[in-house]
Symmetry: C5
């Protein structure tokens, strides 16, 4: 199945805004967690019915509702009606092949990104979709499967660490994005180490498997880049956004995030260049190897073929062949052969082939 | 015949706005279907004469007139006079080599795109031209041949599914464009799967036919890209358009379409890069193969040529050749040869050639 | 002589605006044709003296004066004084190495383009300079040699075909540009067919002459591109120009021209990519061929060199060589050789070399 | 460990603004030097406690506080509270993997760059982070380890050389940046010489170590570029900045700096291209070498294999083989062999292989 | 020594604006020539002391002061004080590694360009720095060594040719720039001819020296481009400049210059592409050559190795070897060998190797 491009093509003919889950179902149960807090109080729980979330919409506290699992179309539709979301937003939440983006609606922002991790077993970069709806009094997040990636943020909320409890919805949104981007950086660092280490293998022993490794890393980098470049665009757009939802205090944090993600995309480009250089080195090394092989062949052939020829002459059965009958012929014959071999070796020496 | 570029070059010297059909005639009959609806009522039928369509122009209902077949110049001219189109628009409708674009006129928009499908038999991407004229009360579409690509939209109109019956001309236009873009995505997904699967073949058995496949896929991607990139430009332009013909409600839908088509063009670029990587891998694999071949040759030559030479020495007929007459000469001779072969093998072993 | 870049470098040290003809003289005689028309009347003739043209400057009719041949500096200077042109314009008209451009002066536009045709004999793209001065009541055109490229436009004027007689100077200018661009498209179509056909040759029989063809086509495309890309810039500039010389009615026509020339430049880029792909395929095919050659060599060498060695052993003249004296030695010897050859063949079979 | 990309990925889950030192600790002690001057007076010393620096904040003299060593988080935090810095600024100061940038805050600028030097021993470009906080009355600089790179600036301050004592904080900031950029230029000049000298080695003796040198230089250039390109962006931004901190008099100096760093980045790009050309030349040279080797092999094989074959014929033991018994057979045999060798040599001569 | 990048890196630690001559001293004496003219009168002479030039500063005539030789720091400093130049301008004048640029000061423009010529002896492009200060009543030019490149302009001034005597300082400045750009064009034409001629050598006889020529031409083009691209930027900036120093009448001339230099940079890019194509052709030709060599080897080996083997069989000394004793064995033996050779030849013929 296509890994690099999966979108709603399979659902041709449906009306826009039709709710269809596109992707692989990664969890069986739908889990809706809610955290509601302000500087003073904190409430944490799980919702049985999504429409219960509607109550939080009106309060001025910061409400974060996290939905794990996207397979339950009915639930997603209910989110839509409860929080007044545009049908296209719901469609995008369900489409795990959605391109990362930020969209501005009248009273909320829709943010869609990829969470990245590197799967050691398959040596593949794995992307999972994260959608976020940032309203004035609530933040909705949608993940493909239950994950603990946001646990540190929850922890910070619970322990009143940092400025999170003192800030609003926009800072919470930033904190989550920051967690995702930190993860990008962690994965790039991991891959980067592998890539930088590859150079030794290329120079040391250029076997075909080295080439396969380089190429598979190249493919993973391309896959990563596909997720992170539009993420950068989205974050740049967010940092420039000028509406009531993003407060002035949060802007420096978003700009910092922009720097980070810019640096991450640059690092990916640098590593891609490095992989190309590795490939070039690999190909040069293969050529050099071929040269070595050919040199050995040529040296052997050029020394022994003439000698064999000389031996062949004195293996002929001509009746009248004077050299055969001289007493020291055989020794002269050896002398000649050693001389020929010596000349050849000197020639190859001078050509720098030895 | 040139497949990648076909335009009105063959008609040099004609006045601009002259009506000439450029392309291959793909249907014999001209068929004009009309659907006329608003929220309440729906009328569907076929027109015998194009000028009958003029009646719909004045009504406030949504009228969609679809023309299949472009060979009948007279009919196209009649469309022009009935709906008051610019001669250049008519010329563009008839030129199937037209570059996708959106053009704004005083009281209508002209949109020209390619419908894409992948022909399994010839393994080629096939593009068919779709022209669209979006007026205040009517939508005209022109296809090269009768096709059922818009059937799902008709179905939605008939069944009052989605928001289509409740919306205006601009939403209908969007719905048709959406159908076309969904098709792009479907085709890219199909091609993408093939491209991603190619990697195994490249690494497994790099025969020349693998290279031909990669190159033919590259060519198809180039052909596809030629259609889809200007389509993207056109849709971006449409989503930004600020006139009475596109209503504010429809803009988010067009922006969504823009996202989709952007993602599609990015996917094409990713796949093009991947095909280049495949080619590089193919070439590396061919070099590796050459190395293997040369190694076998060199090993055989470097072992047996010296041995043959030694045998040649004792095949000479020198009268005085002492070694020939010793009793164990022959066995010593074998010993020497085995030793030489052993040394060579050890050497190749150390060089990692075995 | 440099074909790709020829400019006024050879005239270093001359004052700017000095009139020097740069290029090859392509005609002996200077010919000045004039057509003067409006919707009602038409007058056509030839001028003996250029200053006669001055009379047309004041009339409100559309006057088109076409000058064939640029070698007569005196005549060009006279045009300058008669129609009040800037010395730099005259210098540009005479410099056939001028880069295509549009320049706006107070009461006229100066347009400079290349007319392209493909010379079958030399298989080369040939560019000829066309300069155009578009004033309020007159249009001057300058060609390097008499040509019939504008004959169809004259025909349309004479026959009152299309809107040309009803329109002004700007439409006439457009009609001429349109003729030139149609020619670009025709030439690209011709070259494109050749390029698309090359693929079969590359895959079929990759001889060095195929590579030379690809490279010479690449060079021609580069030459073409050098003319057409600045022409595109010029036409884009023209379509955006906002002054009294270009009327609103003509703008859609210029935009149409812009589309055409954009499509032409894109086609050139596509074909350049295709030629690069052809070259890559050629190189891969050459490598594959090398592999085939090496396989044949290796198979022969690896089978017969050991066999020759075995024969060599029994060609030695050792006095005590037991095998020589057994009755069936010779047949065993054959058996061994056939076995060795069989093993080798099986090995190559398994390696997929046969 | 990844050298090309090191950021705060390892600290996933921490709150933004948390102070963590990212990098290698390069010094044991923290050293805080202060220079305070105006046109008239100069005071130089070392601070025991960072909070003593607060006193300088209010005076109108130019105060430059330089901190060597970043490992002491407490000290950095104290700087923050003393001078009122944003937590993100402190985080960036401590993150030695930070991307060069300029950030504008309400009453100070934060500038972050890399100091570059080329380590002869490891043949590597080494980057050290320099952070700078430019307030209205103070300039803070933070280095990873004590270095004398700014000593010349101190010297100029002490000796009242140039305009430094007569100018303000902004000029001091510029003077430090100028020192850093001068260092970039010095390093590029050094590397450039090495790169330009490599050409001779490539053409002379293309051993694999030459290729490794080219590739390692390429990698160093990539590493350098990673630091200098964002530095350029930062300086461009600084030169355009329009606030009270940068005075009009200093702007031409910053523009001059911008020119220098632009030229430096262009030089890096030029050298990168040159290294690519070197690699291409290397690969061509390797191919040529292979051709030479193959020519030698082919010449030897093609001359001696037929000769050996002829000798082989007369080494057969056929009972009835007439040539063996003629008196001059042996000499004719030699004649034939010399003729064959001569023909082959002439053939290779004509093919230009000798 | 680095040729591609030479800047003030060696002077690290000096205060900005310190006067240091960077480059090679190319003349021993300092020569200061002055031309002072208006439409009516002309005065030409040489200055002994630079401060005498100050007198011309106040007159309304056009004064052109040309300084040959940059080694005399004192003289340059005097120019600075006499004409009131910024210290950074003086520093740039003395730095022959300065990047071409235009800078606007309050009452003068500073322009810095490279004069290019092609040194036939070393086959290298040589760049010399030209600095220009364009004030309201004076024009200062600084050259590295006395040259006659501006002699034609002086001639035009003396002979009242063209518009130069009737125009102001800005036109004089333009005239000098025009001379420099004409020189660029002349050099590109010269190099272009060489590059276009190279193709024949590549296709005819691809020796390593051909590759070295291509690469050295590539390097020269890179060197040229390094000078001309920023020169283009500078001229574009100049043509757009909107201050009292550049008069409206001169703008079309500057635009014309812009066209020329644009065309020159495009020509350089075209030639760079062409050189890359040449290299590709060279590499393909080398591969083809290798194929030819291998074909010869393989044909010889594949024909003669089996034949030698057959001869070897009948050279064995088996006691019981029936064929040896038949009367026509030897002739049958020949027949078999001719048949084997014929079959091989037919096989190679079919493979298109002959």
């Amino acid at each position: 199945m296509a890994r690099f491009f999966k979108n709603r093509g399979a659902n041709r003919g449906l009306a826009p805004g039709s709710l269809v889950f596109i992707g692989q179902q990664k969890t069986d149960t739908l889990r809706v967690r809610v955290i509601d807090y302000d500087g003073a109080k904190l409430e944490e729980g799980e919702l049985q019915e999504i429409r219960q979330g509607g109550a939080y919409k009106k309060t001025q506290t910061v409400t974060w509702i996290n939905v794990d699992g996207l397979h339950d179309l009915e639930a997603i539709r209910e989110v839509g009606t409860t929080f007044g979301l545009h049908p296209l937003v719901l469609e995008d939440i369900l489409n795990t092949g959605q391109r990362p983006k930020v969209e501005e609606f009248d009273d909320y922002l829709f943010i869609c990104l990829k969470m990245i991790h590197f799967d050691e077993a398959s040596q593949r970069v794995v992307a999972e979709q994260l959608s976020m709806v940032l309203g004035e009094t609530f933040l909705l997040t949608f993940q493909e499967r239950p994950g603990d990636v946001f646990e540190p943020v929850r922890e910070r909320i619970r322990k009143q660490k940092g400025r999170i409890r003192a800030s609003g919805i926009d800072y919470l949104g930033y904190a989550l994005l920051d967690t995702i981007v930190d993860n990008y950086i962690y994965v790039i660092e991991r891959l980067g180490e592998q890539i930088e280490d590859m150079e030794a293998a290329v120079l040391g022993d250029p076997t075909p498997s080295v080439m396969e490794n380089i190429n598979s890393m190249k493919r993973e980098m391309a896959y990563f880049r596909k997720s992170i470049r539009p993420a950068r665009e989205a974050i740049v757009k967010l940092a420039k956004m000028d509406n009531g939802l993003i407060k002035t205090d949060t802007v420096p944090f978003l700009k910092d995030l922009e720097d980070l993600v810019t640096q991450a995309t640059e690092a990916i480009d640098t590593y891609r260049d490095m992989l190309s250089d590795h490939l070039n080195m690999y190909n040069s090394a293969v050529s050099n190897r071929m040269n070595d092989i050919m040199k050995v062949l040529t040296i052997f052939a050029a020394i022994f073929i003439p000698l064999t020829f000389i031996a062949g002459i004195y293996g002929t059965n001509f009746e009248y062949l004077p050299e055969l009958h001289y007493k020291y012929s055989y020794f002269v014959f050896w002398g000649v052969m050693i001389a020929v071999a010596g000349i050849m070796l000197a020639y190859f020496k001078r050509k720098n082939w030895l």
